[in-house]
Symmetry: C2
Subunit: 429 residues, 2 copies
């Protein structure tokens, strides 16, 4: 058994995947977004797959980690963290060079490294499950539910990208009627019972109007609004006051623990975050100051499925709610999200899902939401199979790219239609 579990080879395949022109406070999604597909091949001939961010800064960390893995066991996922620290360079030096902000909170070298590790951890768990004939959830102690609830992810959007890219038939959504129509189509197609609107795009009063229109169209359904920290404390409290009793939670209205704590002190609307608390190091202060009432886990930047379960345990111990974040990703990550979500007793809210916006995938059979839920797979591993033809085609797109799409940069994408656009200073409103 032990020899069969030894890693023989690791393949890294960056791809570019189509992404619709979805708007957020920093700009607009590019026509294509980079992702990295990780394949871990065992001596027993089994291949496990994982997926993570694909920008250059992630690839730079992924390559030395991939080279260090052969000879190790796929069971040794706890050891990936120490190994990554060892082979991926001095994080202290790297920390000086990373971004100070973004849609996923402060980007530290540690967080970049954890995001890379997560792709490898998932690939190892997939390979282990396939080898043993066990689903990934069983490798995490077993599922406590047979299906996982997901929420519809609503975006202000354009009908098409200004500079090419794939087309779709969703049309533009730039006002309450457009958002309601989008919500209805998502609900009809997939059965979603709750809705999240990506905000921070229009003036707050216009987004308030959109949420009110959703509340009218879907009475009693849980609604969320996420402006990605675009608002001042004052604006956040104004919106919370306008939407009290309507919102299930308000996500990252203002940036940073200080502002979130101020907002929290002034409203009864629960505050959720995937920006203020995105690492274990950020938890203690945020919880002590009651800055957030709901943490959105994300196995990518929390460092994998085991770490996600640990985050859930921390939230449980402190009476803080747990939800799940999602951004542009493929079906490999959605499978991983579903497995880990199935094992966590305190999954208090439906998980976010960006997946309906991703029409391209690298797996042979796409996930299908029914009644807003995904059934938890009991097939070995993640329960997905790589479509090598699709993978090759999306990798070809990456190879052929002139470099403009290989880094996700929503502000740069916005500049194609608005040459004067820069990432807005926060608070924007």
């Amino acid at each position: 058994m032990h020899t069969a579990l030894t890693i023989d080879d690791v393949r890294l395949t960056p791809v570019l995947i189509a992404d619709p022109p979805l708007l957020n406070t920093q700009g607009v999604h590019q026509p294509y977004t980079p992702r990295l597909i990780v394949e871990v091949v065992t001596h027993g001939g089994v291949t496990g797959v994982g997926e993570t961010y694909g920008d250059a800064k992630y690839l730079e960390l992924a390559h030395p980690l991939a080279e260090a893995l052969p000879g190790r066991s796929i069971t040794d996922v706890n050891g990936l963290f120490g190994l990554a620290e060892q082979v991926c360079g001095d994080s202290r030096a790297a920390e000086d060079s990373v971004d100070a902000g973004g849609l996923r909170g402060v980007q530290t070298a540690d967080k970049l490294r954890l995001s890379v590790v997560s792709g490898f951890e998932v690939a190892c768990l997939d390979a282990l499950g396939k080898t043993l004939g066990l689903p990934v959830h069983a490798l995490l102690g077993g599922k406590v539910r047979d299906a996982v609830d997901y929420s519809a992810y609503l975006f202000y959007r354009w009908a098409e990208h200004p500079a090419g890219g794939e087309k779709d038939d969703w049309g533009a959504a730039l006002d309450p009627a457009g958002i309601v129509a989008q919500a209805r189509r998502l609900a009809d197609a997939y059965g979603f019972g709750s809705f999240k609107l990506k905000g921070g795009v229009l003036e707050p009063d216009r987004e308030i109007a959109a949420i009110r229109a959703l509340a009218d169209a879907f009475p009693g359904r849980p609604l969320r609004l996420d402006p990605n920290g675009a608002w001042s404390v004052e604006t956040s409290l104004y919106v919370a006051g306008q939407l009290g009793g309507v919102l299930e939670y308000l996500e990252d209205p203002a940036g940073g623990t200080d502002r979130m704590a101020e907002v929290s002190a002034g409203t009864d609307v629960p505050l959720a975050t995937n920006m203020c608390v995105t690492t274990f190091a950020e938890i203690a202060e945020a919880f002590a100051r009651d800055a957030v009432q709901v943490v959105l886990c994300d196995h990518h930047y929390w460092g994998g499925l085991h770490r996600t379960r640990e985050l859930a345990a921390v939230c449980r111990a402190f009476g803080v709610g747990l939800s799940m974040h999602s951004n542009t990703h493929l079906g490999i990550s959605l499978a991983a999200m579903t497995h880990v979500a199935a094992t966590v007793p305190n999954l208090d809210y439906a998980c976010d899902s960006h997946y309906p916006w991703q029409t391209e995938d690298v797996i042979t059979r796409r996930h299908e939401f029914r009644d807003g839920r995904l059934a938890v797979s009991d097939a070995p591993g993640l329960g997905v199979e790589l479509d090598h033809g699709r993978l090759a085609a999306l990798h070809r797109r990456w190879l052929d790219d002139d470099g403009s799409m290989r880094e996700r940069d929503d502000a740069a994408a916005m500049r194609r239609s608005d040459p004067g656009w820069t990432t807005p200073a926060t608070p924007r409103w």
Copy 2:
């Protein structure tokens, strides 16, 4: 594979195991202590073993859980908690009837149930590991160290039990010289490099003298003192003042979060606990008030190996130290402790080990400490095998007992030599 993992049968075997006349603040260890051995037998013909407390209140919960398990999968350890809640009776009703205190902190119905679940969880993991050919640590994500450090556990003790029981050649230890001699023998035999003295037995000044004698005899070695909450805040601060710079940590000097927080505020000596923080529900307040700087995990009452890893994650996130508790237990639990300890990155201190005091066991080959450490087994499962002859003999002792030993009661044991003894009120000093 799935059918092979189905539980066909669960065997519960209560045993009485010899325990020397070790003193603590509540009394003295009985000549024999009850433990419960759990065997989970799979459809594939594999048997996994676990161990937990064996008093009647645990057996009462273990029986319905054992009856509910056949037909379930040994992979489904996360589901044990919900199952136990379901079949083990209404915890709210039970909470009214449980003890208000003890050497392991407040005993709630939840904690009793978790202690029972832990024995079943370990048995399931052992069976799963044996079936898959994987060590238990690999089922927890893999070891991050090849050996686990343990600490010598020193006790004030009598030479023999006043009313029979097994004899040993350790003799009495009731003064500093006796404690130093005991420490030297444990260090020589097993290589322990750190020492913990169970205190709360003699007047504080006499225990201070014992710690000073240890510091003289073993310069630079980490020393711990644990009076099980026997002291007032004033006494705790007095002892901390006397032993500042000598103690690695002071364990549960005073009882309860209020007193521990007061002591903590008045000393730089780190405070450890296995009484003040023994459940996830107790963490938030204790951490917020900085009442403890080190938590002693114990997979029995924290609810198993997965939960122990979650506790470790909570401690890591909050910068609180992690050590491990041990009381009278057999080699099955020591194996489980070693496996989980091997997987936890932030095992900041050598684990406690009561094991050298247990001369009887139910496994075929006892664990051997070398240089104060146990090597982490890479054999399938826990890496121990049940000795069915020894198990039957120790069960026979339980069957033949007149009932006086089936409940661990250190005060009752003390009354055999001191008929007027009652559990001392706290603070005792």
